[in-house]
Symmetry: C2
Subunit: 118 residues, 2 copies
């Protein structure tokens, strides 16, 4: 068979993208922010089960990837808001597609419709 | 603010889906197979840079998730083919969305269009 790697080009950017959006809770954080959450506590309340420590880490990761920005307002007390960048908002399609696939195929009880190893 | 977790429901299946498709090379393997590759060597040739050991592991992972099946034909020499299940083929939308996002936003040189921390 002819080598056909041009049909699926070498794609480190894809791998990187998959790692970002695939890291635990990253998708949930983006979904929360697409839903309008801007404050740490709002984002946390959207996501059942995430700890403050993990959310903090994930927000930092996503900020360093240019997916969100962190803005500090010098109110009393200090107010911090998180906003998706254009790059972050562009993730909506990825998150939607993944949500739909998860809903269709990852429900705990549903067996695989095609028997494996057959 | 009212707790609004019902807008983004608790979603372990989403986290699980993100982990599967986000694991290194998993998306590339699915893309190769969506492109028609069925043999180990064909899949490897689609994906520049993956080692046999890693590809082997990834194929096993995806099989155990019901995303592909491994079929052994008792030819001489033994022939082994990998095929996406319906669940695996349904990943096309996710992979497409992620590819598009990566192409648009993850190109090595392109800076983030919105300055961070501003």
């Amino acid at each position: 068979m002819e080598k056909s790697s041009e049909r699926v080009p070498q794609c480190p950017s894809y791998n990187r993208a998959a790692e970002i959006i695939g890291s635990r809770w990253a998708g949930a954080v983006v979904r929360a922010m697409l839903g309008g959450a801007t404050r740490f506590s709002e984002i946390r309340d959207y996501i059942n089960g995430i700890t403050d420590r993990v959310l903090s880490k994930r927000l930092k990761d996503l900020e360093s990837e240019g997916i969100l920005t962190r803005r500090v307002f010098n109110d009393t007390p200090v107010r911090i808001e998180y906003h998706l960048t254009e790059k972050g908002r562009a993730l909506a399609r990825v998150v939607d597609a993944m949500t739909e696939w998860a809903d269709d195929w990852m429900a705990a009880e549903s067996p695989s419709p095609e028997p494996a190893g057959k």
